[in-house]
Symmetry: D2
Subunit: 340 residues, 4 copies
């Protein structure tokens, strides 16, 4: 009963099988291999467009920071939610990669940016006023850090506001599969069709060993050479790229990533329902992915812990429980006996 994080789960066996499958023969290094070429085709189908460039990363933090650094100059800022991963959990990676750029934090419930706050921030941008740091990028996260899903309408609306103000729109999609499953939107609808310029498509939390894809759409494609150069000097150009591409292929080709996310989401729903049967449980955010944020009766929390369940304390006395592709129905059943 490990609810600590979706990254404590093992990878899906198909991922490792795919890596073993490409493990023969020589291949050009640094992304010029045949596996990466195949991945491009599969990505085009998955994204329903050819109008993109991509780069692979083993780390979500690197993926976000590299993407942001191509669009936020050292004298600029990134608008993001105050609870976003780039603001709270990446040890200053965006500031490091951008050469000292700033994050400008916005509030909003369920870790979704408040529209009024966004409008005010956009209206305040004044490139001619040299003393303040103007925003160049809006960074959104879906699934959010509170486990809620932006609808594609909200995403498209926010992206449109940001673009009108001259900003580039970045989507941190470390758990985008969970958001897609929840909303029923396609990846195309949730990314470029919604006005996203650069997408960090995460597969690690979904079930890969370690695989994230930075995708530049449309105009943003012009930054592809800079992205490669920045990736190289940040040590995010592993020579044997085929193994990253193999992971992505295993997940995307055939839709395994969405299946795994669907399982994780379903388990989260079941776990939340189970917990809510106890009158002392307070659900803090709608469960729209694979994360549950709750206040628990002390007795329940203790019972879970004594039964070996692991989960993290969160803000203000609450708890976070995360399910993953391997969370079994038996786990839900075991849980049901503990919440009485």
């Amino acid at each position: 009963m490990d609810f600590s994080s979706d990254t404590s789960a093992p990878a899906h066996p198909a991922v490792l099988e795919a890596m073993a499958r490409v493990n023969s023969g020589t291949e050009p290094s640094y992304g010029n291999d045949s596996v990466s070429k195949h991945l491009r085709e599969v990505l085009a189908r998955t994204l329903e467009t050819e109008d993109f460039e991509f780069w692979l990363c083993a780390s979500g933090t690197a993926s976000n920071a590299l993407a942001l650094s191509c669009f936020c100059p050292p004298t600029g800022a990134v608008l993001c939610h105050e609870e976003s991963h780039i603001a709270r959990d990446e040890r200053g990676a965006p500031e490091f990669f951008s050469g000292g750029g700033k994050l400008q934090l916005l509030g909003g419930k369920g870790a979704q940016i408040d529209e009024t706050a966004l409008r005010q921030a956009l209206a305040a941008i004044d490139h001619g006023f040299v003393h303040e740091t103007p925003a160049h990028v809006l960074s959104l996260t879906n699934l959010t850090e509170s486990g809620t899903a932006y609808s594609r309408e909200t995403l498209a609306h926010y992206a449109a506001l940001a673009r009108e103000a001259g900003l580039t729109v970045h989507l941190d999609g470390a758990r985008i599969a969970n958001a897609l499953v929840n909303t029923g939107a396609s990846l195309a609808e949730m990314s470029w069709q919604a006005g996203i310029d650069v997408l960090c498509l995460g597969l690690t939390k979904t079930g890969a060993v370690g695989c994230e894809i930075i995708i530049l759409f449309g105009e943003a494609r012009k930054k592809a050479p800079e992205l490669r150069a920045r990736a190289k000097r940040a040590g995010h150009m592993p020579p044997k790229m085929r193994y990253l591409s193999a992971q992505a292929l295993a997940m995307l080709d055939g839709g395994l990533w969405l299946d795994l996310a669907a399982t994780a989401n379903q388990r989260a729903k079941q776990v939340a329902d189970m917990l809510c049967k106890h009158p002392g449980t307070e659900l803090l955010h709608a469960v729209q992915g694979n994360e549950i944020f709750v206040r628990l009766d002390n007795k329940v929390a203790d019972a879970l812990r004594q039964a070996g369940a692991s989960f993290y304390p969160w803000l203000e006395g609450s708890y976070r429980l995360v399910t993953n592709w391997k969370t079994g129905e038996d786990t839900v059943e075991r849980l049901s006996k503990l919440v009485v």
Copy 2:
């Protein structure tokens, strides 16, 4: 007949098997897993000491740059050979990670630093003279970029000179296995016993998927928390660390890494001998690892290419050929028929 790079070879099957073997059950993220704990034991045996800290990286560039950034402040410099990988092939990674530190380039044959140049550079360090950038680190590379091996005596001698001048000594060991096989020295002899403070132990070129180990010895261990923080913000703290640890285990436990390097070295020797049978061949550096630097008769070069051999043009009309763990004896034989 791929002699383009040792990174174009596949990983050794044992590496992927090891990754698959750890692919079950949940594990704590970010390096607190049981596989990484086991790796520490194996590393201690391999290094013949307990007096070390380590961090895993998927990239050699990141490994070097992270290591250097812990010891070279933004106002300082790193002494290194003018042909070293950190100077020529990492797109400014050391400068990026150190926040604007400098590389101070030294000459020397066979990509080995000239002792006089080293002594002069060390003597010129003046921390009180604010206008010039004082060296804080000496970075050595073994196997060097010209495929030659520093003897452990030279390494120890240079390290002693540097330490006397107050510098930290870094060893870029992207191909250290090849140097160990060549010199007969043990890893302990070639690292901490020789006065190396921080070792970047490379396993990728030797046969891993992507696995490098930064190792801090003795006093340098104090930098371990900073190293972790820097790794995190550079996106070099993948959550599912077990897969990196599994690679290292597969290579180190039982000595596979040295066996693979021995094969690669032997093939290089054989290839060089074969090429040298032609009177037009000029060997530019002693072949002391898995790299061959030669001038070739045009006809020989053409014949190789027409037979499908791949290799890079190098400095001043020369060529570089690299062998790897998978280079077969049949390749040598095929080659022998082309060099007439």
Copy 3:
């Protein structure tokens, strides 16, 4: 009737006379001149201690950023008020100089940090939790950005809390003379005796041409060589340092700086009193220095503007008026006729 900023005023004539006075004969460059040596003596008397090191800067932004960069590593954060100058008005200078460090913003009325917010931020520091950026410095500002003065008791209390948590305490004293005049505290009481480790003593807004002094006290003195090196590489080591020292001497020796601040403060008081005679005026913060933050009746604002008064619109429909050493009593009188 220029109330736009205290930096739009000319320098006090004594400052330019002092510069002209040292303008003869040769002097060693880069701070080794006799004027700078004399300044050290005067500073010691002014600070009532010998336990300090100092560096001169022509810019307040540079002064703050250089000071902070010596104590906040690139992987760390600075606690400061959300309206502080370093957060809002320096275009990311702290992030730039620190190599990507973060500012962690705290709220509080009158631009003074709220004690509860400070305590929570200090309690949350966890150097072992690698994902979040731990605070290394507390930065306070006196006079604050809302023109209020921290009492020396509050300053000392906050500094003690921060030091207990292992932080270095920085004081942005761009308008410290105004705060000293207001509170009656001595510079010693408001700086090292209150637990300030590093003081940015501003003289530009008070009446210099461009002169700020970074002062390191006690343990912080160890950072003096790093401060010099950082100043050099940031271009804040002008060769002809004597002219900066001459400015500081003109201001400090004899107490001119406090006299000028006293005048500016008195005028601010008079202007505020005058404005408040109108029932439509709302004073937003106590006037404890040379800055007035008010809401004005539209007719009053218009009358002022038509009479040629200049002042900036501030947050939420308010205005900021700043007096300086040259604001005359006649200006107050003229004003009195406009506010009816």
Copy 4:
């Protein structure tokens, strides 16, 4: 008899008088003052063009580093001479301001870049080869660090080669007045007419208190907003800009700067002639400005020192003597009695 540096001389009295002259009345801060507007007119006349933007700096190091950082991305390099000021004497300022860019050092006699080395470096640029750092800027220095002057023909030739290769051309003109006097070229001929994109026009060594002008020509003007933003965040936007502009006006309007440089050059010639009367003197570089690089007979060196002359030991047992606008003919006479 101070030959240590031209920065140990005082400023010309006219400079301080000009500063005092603008010291009345209020003026907008940050460069929007009337003095700076007047300076623009004088600069246009001096440069013989209106096609430029400018920014003022109190420091030559900052002036160079700010200029370079607008044209060299963090993933790029600057070509410069191995003895150039930006490489040897600025403590890594270019690397700091550019966010980790590299300097690529070229050789050549008299601190002038060798044409073959330049051509090779330009030919080696390959933006598609991600591992190496491509040059984006060529930085030239006139007067060079060896006191020699590039002719305008050579400057124009090098600039043309660099521009053809897509580089921006920067001219470090810390002692440009000395080069202009020596070559007889006008500032226009030596800058934009020669293909210089960005000029750092130094006035401090010539006789100002501390004043350097960054000038962007033609296409480079597009970088003016970025230059301002970078200047702000580096603390090189002093609020009371009028005092920097006043210095520049005093020097440029009427040609004082060239007169002062002419005096310094003439004295250097006289000093060199005097020293060369001794058979033990070896002049290392032609004296084409205000700097003399010599080997001296030990007795001569001792005699000079005993008579109170100050000058620095330079490379390989040589000495550097620098004259300035205030070096008198009496100094030359005194010297003549010591060199026997």
